[in-house]
Structures are given as C-alpha cells and as structure tokens.
C-alpha cells in the first residue's frame, strides 16, 4: 500500500456553519412576546444513551436472549449494493422467515441493522441515526469487504473503510458480495452470539459513546443532529 502522500494536506481549518434551520432564532408569539428558539435544544431529546443492565436472574435473561435470537427483525434499509443480496432471502429458495427473521419498515421496531455494503459519509449519517433510533438490544451486521476494510473503495474520498470505528458491529460477513447463503450463515452465527449473551452492542455503544461520537464527527463534518438520536 502506498504511503501517505505528503504533498497533499486536506483542509482541516474550515468550519461548517450550523444549518440554517438549526440556528437559534427568535419568533414572535401570537400575544406579541418574543420567544428564543434553539432548535437542537428544543426539538430534540438531549439525553445520552444508557447502559442497560441485564436481568437479575440469569435464567430470565437467557430466556429473553433466546427470544431475541429467534425474533430478529431487520431494518429494511439498503445502504449499498449488498442490499440486493437480501431480497433472495425472502424467496422460497432461502426463506429466512423460518428462522424468525423478518423485515420491518421502521427502526423503532427493528433489532438488526444490516449495513449492506459501502457506506458513504452521507449514508453513514443516516445509518447512525437509524441505529440510534432502534430500541436496544440491537445488533449490527457488516456485509462485504467494503464494511470491513473499504474493499474496492479503499481510496475513495467519501467512503468509510472500517465500520466498527463508527458503530458497534456484532458480525462481519466477508465477500464482495457475500451470497445469500453466507448471509444465512451469518444470521445463524449472530443467533448463537445472542443466545450466549454476547449481543451487547448497544451497551458497548453506550459505554464508549464518546469514542464513537468522536470517530463519527471526525468524518461527518456537518454534524446537524443531536449527539444521540432518540
């Protein structure tokens, strides 16, 4: 791999101003009084994520984990070209439903975020938002070499190369692209992990929240959302 090119220095000086709709402003109430609006404070919950303890009884937690493992609801969010590999999973040939895997249209009802390929910075922002809006416990699967080390986008100016820097990845499935069988194998692996109580990505994210945020903000320059998207 080529060494860092010393002759080119990226611009680290310029700051992106806050987007107009998020800038504090003053509006006039119907009765004439002036109201200060700070959109980020007023519109969004600012609470950081919590680390959720497990149940006091191990047997209860094991039962829960069994249920979680057998009821994986995927967020229907195709981030890259790998999304095309998920469609066959619904067909008679692969039929992922028999493993308790279903697709949900909203992050609130999903537990598993499949990052299906390369993530441009712009998509990363949406992926973070979607991930944070999912209720915990939640799991992330990285699909394909792009999420592992950048793959064929290793030298792209706007594609991240190492997903676990930004989101707590439970499982990678290698390949470019991995076939549906590989995905099924990955789901099986993930189920095992969850049943063993190792699917604690959400807690990991909450524990290392600052680190994740720093990484995210280092690539997403126009951070136009609260630190945690409830």
């Amino acid at each position: 791999m080529k060494d860092v090119d010393k002759s080119f220095r990226k611009d680290t000086e310029t700051e992106i101003p806050l987007r107009e709709e998020l800038q504090p402003r003053t509006v006039t109430a119907p009765d004439g009084q002036k109201i200060e609006i700070d959109p980020l404070q007023d519109y969004f919950c600012q609470e950081p994520p919590k680390v959720h303890k497990q149940s006091y009884l191990k047997i209860v937690e094991d039962f829960y984990n069994w249920a979680r493992a057998n009821s994986l609801w995927i967020l229907g969010f195709g981030t890259g070209c790998g999304a095309i590999e998920m469609r066959p999973l619904m067909t008679p040939r692969f039929d992922a439903y028999r493993y308790g895997i279903q697709w949900r249209p909203t992050p609130r009802q999903a537990n598993l975020l499949v990052i299906s390929g390369y993530l441009s910075v712009k998509t990363l922002k949406r992926a973070i938002r979607a991930y944070e809006q999912m209720p915990s416990p939640k799991y992330v699967m990285g699909l394909g070499s792009c999420t592992i080390n950048g793959g064929m986008y290793w030298d792209s100016y706007n594609t991240i190369k190492k997903l676990d820097e930004y989101l707590p990845v439970d499982l990678y499935i290698a390949g470019c692209m991995p076939r549906p069988e590989a995905l099924l194998a990955g789901f099986m692996e993930l189920k095992k992990k969850i049943r063993k109580g190792e699917g604690e990505g959400a807690n990991k994210y909450a524990e290392n929240f600052d680190w994740y945020k720093a990484n995210q903000k280092s690539v997403i320059k126009d951070w136009d959302m609260p630190d945690y998207n409830w």
Binding site: S7, N149, W154, K161
Partner: protein, 178 residues
C-alpha cells in the same frame, strides 16, 4: 451531414476543427461567448432538442477546464459535442438552465465537483451530493483522493492488494510461466 452543418455554421461562428468520432457523432470547439447563440440555433433551427449531458474535463496541464455540451438531434440521430474552455484559475461558465432546465442540475454538480461556477443558475451554490464538504472540489485532478482518504478515514491493517493478472499467474503457475 454533420460536415454540412459544420460548414454552414462555420460561416457565422468561430468554430474549431470538427472532430468526427463516428458518422453521427462529432465534437467541435466553441468560443465561450458564442456558445449560447450556437446552442439556441442548434436547438431551434437544426433540431438538436435534447441536451444529452454537460460535463467537464480538468486539463490541469493546460490550465483550463473543458466543458462538453452534448446535444442530440433525435430525428436525424445526430449527436454534437460542443467544447468550451474555461480558465482554470477562475472558472465561470455561462448558465443554460433557461434553454434546458435539466442543465441546472448538471451545473450544480459541476459547481460542487469541479468548482466551476454558473452565475444565475438556480440553487447552484447549494450542496448537491456531498454534505459539508470543505476541501477542494474532489474531481479536480490536483485533489489527491487517496491521500485524502488516508488522512480522513480509519483503516484496518493487513490489507493487501494483488494485481489480478500477477496473482492468477502465480496461483496457476507457481513455478513460473511455462
């Protein structure tokens, strides 16, 4: 046919030489100040009603950008590329969004990716694909995308690159080519 058109136009416009790629595809250099008049005439008189694309090439060595306006005559199946050169130091193009509304989108893209400005084009200064981009426009050739990537994105160690040809050769003939 294309030649006839060229000869006809040549009498009134300062055109460069005609580069004929195929019988129905040709390129010609155009002076920037005559571009608009030429496009209007091509569209309204000669039937080139469709703007196929508007794109740019960074001729860094020559210190200029080349804008290519590709227009198409559907009935005659002719495509003509008009090349306009802009100074690379202060690249300002003429907006043609009023001739073809789609041009506005092309111009927005060029503004973002090459830093070529098109005064008067709608929403041209708003971000197009990139969000919060502060660096040099990334399609310029002096923008080093690898260096930028290395300076910006975390990497995972242990990555190897193989030239497919060498790799397969090694794999198939470990002892060297028979």
């Amino acid at each position: 046919m294309m030649r006839d058109l060229y000869d006809h136009m040549k009498t009134r416009y300062r055109l460069g030489d005609l580069t004929e790629q195929r019988a129905n595809l040709a390129f010609v250099d155009v002076a920037q100040d005559e571009l608009r008049a030429l496009l209007v005439e091509l569209r309204d008189v000669h039937g080139f009603t469709h703007l196929v694309l508007l794109t740019a090439v960074d001729w860094i060595e020559e210190g200029r950008f080349q804008l290519t306006y590709m227009v198409n005559n559907r009935t005659a199946n002719l495509t003509l590329g008009l090349r306009v050169y802009l100074d690379r130091k202060s690249p300002v193009g003429n907006t043609i969004h009023d001739l073809w509304p789609t041009a506005a989108t092309y111009q927005r893209e060029l503004r973002e990716m090459f830093g070529i400005s098109f005064p008067g084009s709608p929403r041209v200064d708003e971000e197009f694909i990139l969000e919060g981009w502060t660096d040099m426009p990334p399609y310029r050739r002096d923008f080093d995308t690898l260096a930028y990537s290395q300076q910006t994105y975390a990497e995972r160690g242990g990555r190897e690159t193989h030239d497919p040809r060498d790799h397969m050769q090694k794999k198939l003939y470990p002892e060297g080519r028979p």
